[in-house]
């Protein structure tokens, strides 16, 4: 497993995403209200645009989510499942903090 440093933890704004380029892959990273970190693919599968990091973060029935800024489909930050269309799933990635740096692994 390869971990790629992405940014210092304080650079992530709570409940707002940021996009990182990890081994050629666009990864949307999020810091939730409670400090939990999530990493998912940045591509919105419905429009094809790489924009999920710019969506609004929230919860649905307690599950942390992000809504695509394009047409508002909501995705689970935990599983990558589109909660409005459960047949559509986007990739999720491992994320952790080491020595104050956020790190993501795509493999």
């Amino acid at each position: 497993m390869t971990w790629t440093p992405v940014c210092p933890l304080p650079d992530l704004q709570p409940e707002r995403g940021a996009c990182a380029l990890v081994a050629g892959e666009q990864v949307a990273v999020f810091k939730a209200h409670d400090g939990a970190l999530y990493a998912i693919g940045n591509q919105d599968p419905f429009s094809g645009a790489f924009v999920l990091s710019r969506g609004i973060v929230g919860t649905r029935n307690g599950e942390p989510t992000v809504a695509s800024p394009m047409h508002k489909q909501v995705f689970s930050l935990v599983s990558g499942v589109c909660l409005d269309d459960p047949g559509t799933v986007i990739p999720t990635f491992q994320i952790r903090v080491t020595m104050g740096m956020v790190e993501v692994s795509v493999k």
Binding site: R16, G48, A49, T59, N61
Partner: protein, 804 residues
């Protein structure tokens, strides 16, 4: 023809008159009211002060209302009132008067009672020059009054004789929880405390209790009510020892031609101060007057209300052989059930902080419990209401009445149920239950924004405004659940922006914004953004046009003229936005807010300056309006236009507010819309001067911002406004709600605090740091974005859609 004369014009009198009309009464009905206005909803008094709500009841056609005339005498022999007004049947609905304890200084300027709209206006006037207020009385009305003082921005104290607040509704344990809630809101509670006197010369300066002197400039007495029976007493009717006009089960007094209803009536030794029994009395009297045999047999004194944001409810008995208590001091919830000694029969209950058991369990009072008491309190089980359970006790409506009305009239919303059954039209506490019954009947409902807030946008606006909430976190912690979503967050962001005028990307607010607001640009289909600089009134100098052209050329942007007389620049990447805006701001441009639910543009024709037909300077007016309202955050986008003559080249009548010049001044049209459902705007005011025009638009916009639903354009909002255009004119021009000063002040605050969002962003390295393609590779552009060429300009390459 029978002449019915009603003395008093409160809610009970109004109900009686409308009941007579509804039942097809063929005689005449006259109401004599001492207040200078028509009947209004006294139950909701506080909302008049804190939200400017209109409390007026609709007029009842065919009923004559004599306003501003006090009844001073009744002659039962001649059957006249004031010696001149004849009657065949007289109904006393004189209500009650607030009790003011006989303490020194109670006549000082700044001392008030809490009963009528005039009282509230006087309180508002006193509060304007005050910092602190005291409410004497910690009962239901006292807390209402305290909420009002707090809403007026006063530091508020409550002085209550009993050892705890609301002693008639809750027990000591509930009182303790309630007190903590009230204190958490910043109010000071003095229990077990009398009033020794009011201090001050001419004006109130303080209130002395046995323990302390509270320095205050406003005192509101809310220490109980006394029935107004003086007319009846003077006319020789039987009255109770402690006041109240004696009535029988048919609401008849000791004179068979005279009835008494409402708070002035004494039935079986009991005077009722709650609205529900008063309404029942009115219905009973109406039936009897028409020859019926209806009987009033006492009333359930259960109450459920929300005061200072805390739910409080009491139903059935306030004691019992056994009781089961649930107490959660952390979240401030107290629930207690009283049951029979074999724990099988429910006797009553008290709730503070969570009134859910009121709705589910009140119908079971006196009946077998639907589950073990602890289960009912700890893990609320779904309880199926029996059909004959009262749903709205104010109007005596059962669940069966509601379900039958839903079936019969194909009702789909709470408003329909209200108008067909009258349920929920008085105190409103059963509205959630109505919603639930609708849902159970297979009808989807909801004015709640989303799963996180049960409130509509207008309700949230009031909460934020009245409670002075400044962050989403505080709002959702106190009034919602979860952490929000793409629906509620932008709504709250917009409300905060409307009220505080802070920068939309400041602090926590930044995380609430839709991507458009977050990057102050409009997201396009390939993930790039478009940019619309403000071009007020559509007027632009050649130099500025050249700058736009140069910027578009240097950054390779696609340019197009918009429908609002502006220029849209497409195809900018996130990381390019600050550099593009640096050039635009340096050339004197500012944000056009094309990305926001805000004022977009004020279009104009060239007006009288150039046009042979123009009668007024449309361009100057459009520019002035655009600069005045720029940056105003609203429930939806706002568009406007100004035409210099009746030929209407600017298409002003398709706008949210459109102005058309006349020979004498300006006509203002509101509620127009292009878009999905086109609608021509309606004429609000005619031939007004510039000052009046701007004042009226100020009020129109602020009233819309306060009261519209999420994403509701002015057209839909106006169509749904109770009373329509006529009502809107009364509110904005005649100031019937008394809110215009507030609306004016709010707009004035917007105008002076406006600052260009893009300039402020460029000056702030923290905000700028978000405009990057990749946090770990800020210099790398998004490789997925590419363009082809069409008609010498860029065009986005289609992206691969990866969903099924």
């Amino acid at each position: 023809m029978t002449r019915v004369l009603i003395i008093g014009n409160g809610p009970t009198a109004h109900r009686l008159a409308s009941a007579l009309t509804d039942k097809g009464f063929t005689g005449t009905v006259t109401i004599l009211g001492e207040e200078p206005r028509g009947a209004y909803d006294r139950v909701a008094l506080t909302s008049y002060l804190t939200e400017g709500r209109d409390l007026a009841y609709p007029e009842i056609s065919g009923v004559e209302v004599i306003k501003g005339v006090k009844a001073t005498s009744i002659d039962p022999q001649a059957k006249t009132v004031n010696g001149t007004i004849p009657y065949d049947v007289l109904v006393l609905a004189t209500g009650s008067a607030p009790f003011v304890p006989p303490v020194s200084g109670r006549e000082l300027d700044g001392c008030h009672v809490y009963r009528t709209i005039d009282d509230l206006d006087a309180i508002r006037t006193s509060a304007a020059r005050a910092t602190t207020g005291v409410v004497v009385g910690g009962g239901l009305l006292g807390l209402e009054a305290a909420d009002a003082l707090r809403g007026l921005g006063l530091e508020t104290h409550i002085v209550e004789m009993s050892p705890w607040l609301m002693p008639r509704q809750v027990d000591e344990g509930g009182g303790a929880v309630l007190k903590r809630h009230v204190e958490a809101l910043g109010l000071t509670v003095h229990t077990s405390s009398g009033v020794l006197g009011i201090e001050g010369h001419e004006k109130v300066t303080g209130l002395r209790t046995p323990d302390t002197l509270i320095e205050a400039q406003v005192v509101v007495f809310s220490a109980g009510i006394r029935p107004r029976d003086e007319l009846a007493r003077a006319a020789g009717l039987a009255v109770g020892e402690r006041g109240g006009i004696v009535v029988d089960d048919g609401m008849r007094t000791s004179d068979p031609a005279i009835y008494a209803v409402g708070e002035c009536a004494l039935h079986e030794g009991q005077v009722y101060g709650l609205v529900a029994p008063c309404m029942t009395m009115a219905e009973t009297a109406a039936d009897r007057i028409m020859g019926g045999a209806a009987a009033f047999t006492g009333a359930d004194l259960s109450t459920k209300l929300k005061l200072l944001g805390v739910e409080v409810a009491q139903f059935g008995a306030m004691s019992g052989a056994l009781d089961v208590t649930y107490l959660d001091p952390v979240s401030g919830v107290y629930k207690k059930l009283f049951v029979s000694d074999d724990a099988s029969t429910l006797l009553g209950g008290i709730c503070v902080g969570d009134a859910a058991p009121y709705a589910t369990l009140r119908p079971f009072v006196g009946a077998a419990l639907p589950a073990a008491p602890s289960d009912l309190l700890f893990s609320p089980v779904a309880v199926e209401l029996p059909g004959d359970a009262p749903v709205c006790s104010c109007n005596g409506v059962t669940k069966n009445d509601v379900t039958e009305a839903i079936k019969k009239h194909d009702l789909t919303d709470v408003a329909g149920v209200k108008s067909c059954t009258r349920a929920g039209t008085t105190c409103g506490s059963c509205l959630p239950l109505l919603k639930k019954i609708l849902t159970e009947s297979g009808v989807a409902t909801g004015t709640g924004l989303c799963e996180h807030f049960a409130h509509s946008r207008a309700e949230l606006f009031k909460i934020v405004q009245v409670r002075g909430i400044t962050t989403f976190t505080q709002l959702i912690d106190e009034h919602g659940t979860g952490r929000g979503c793409d629906i509620c967050k932008p709504v709250v962001a917009s409300i905060l922006a409307s009220l505080n005028n802070g920068h939309v990307l400041e602090g926590e607010q930044a995380a609430l914004q839709d991507t458009n607001d977050h990057f102050l640009a409009n997201l396009q289909r390939n993930g790039t953004y478009s940019i619309v600089p403000r071009i007020p009134g559509g007027e632009i100098t050649p130099e500025k046009l050249i700058v736009i052209g140069e910027v578009a050329r240097d950054f390779g942007l696609y340019t197009k003229i918009t429908g609002g007389q502006r220029i849209d620049l497409f195809g900018a990447r996130v990381e390019e936005l600050p550099r593009i805006w640096r050039r635009l701001v340096d050339a004197g441009f500012e944000s056009g807010h094309a990305y926001g639910k805000a004022l977009r543009t004020v279009k104009s024709c060239v007006g009288s300056t150039w046009c042979r037909y123009g009668v007024q300077d449309a361009v100057t007016m459009a520019i002035d309006l655009e600069l005045r309202y720029r940056g105003l955050r609203a429930p939806h986008k706002l568009k406007s236009a100004v035409s210099g003559c009746a030929r209407e080249c600017a298409e002003a009548r398709s706008k949210d507010f459109g102005i058309i010049a006349t020979e004498k001044g300006w006509n203002l049209y509101v509620g127009g819309n292009g878009g999905f459902t086109p609608r021509h705007a309606d004429l609000l005011v005619q031939d007004v001067d510039t000052e009046t025009l701007i004042r009226t638009i100020d009020r129109f916009l602020m009233f819309y911002v306060r009261t519209a639903d999420r994403l509701q354009r002015t057209a839909a909002w106006l169509q749904e406004l109770d009373g329509g255009l006529e009502r809107l004119r009364e509110i904005l021009v005649d100031d019937v709600l008394g809110i215009c000063a507030d609306l004016d002040a709010q707009m004035a605050a917007h105008v002076v605090t406006y600052a260009d969002e893009w300039r402020a962003t460029l000056d702030d390295p923290v905000k700028l740091s978000r405009f990057v393609s990749f946090v770990n590779a800020p210099g790398t552009p998004d490789p997925s974005i590419s363009f082809t060429t069409e008609r010498d300009q860029i065009k986005p390459e289609l992206l691969q859609v990866t969903s099924r």
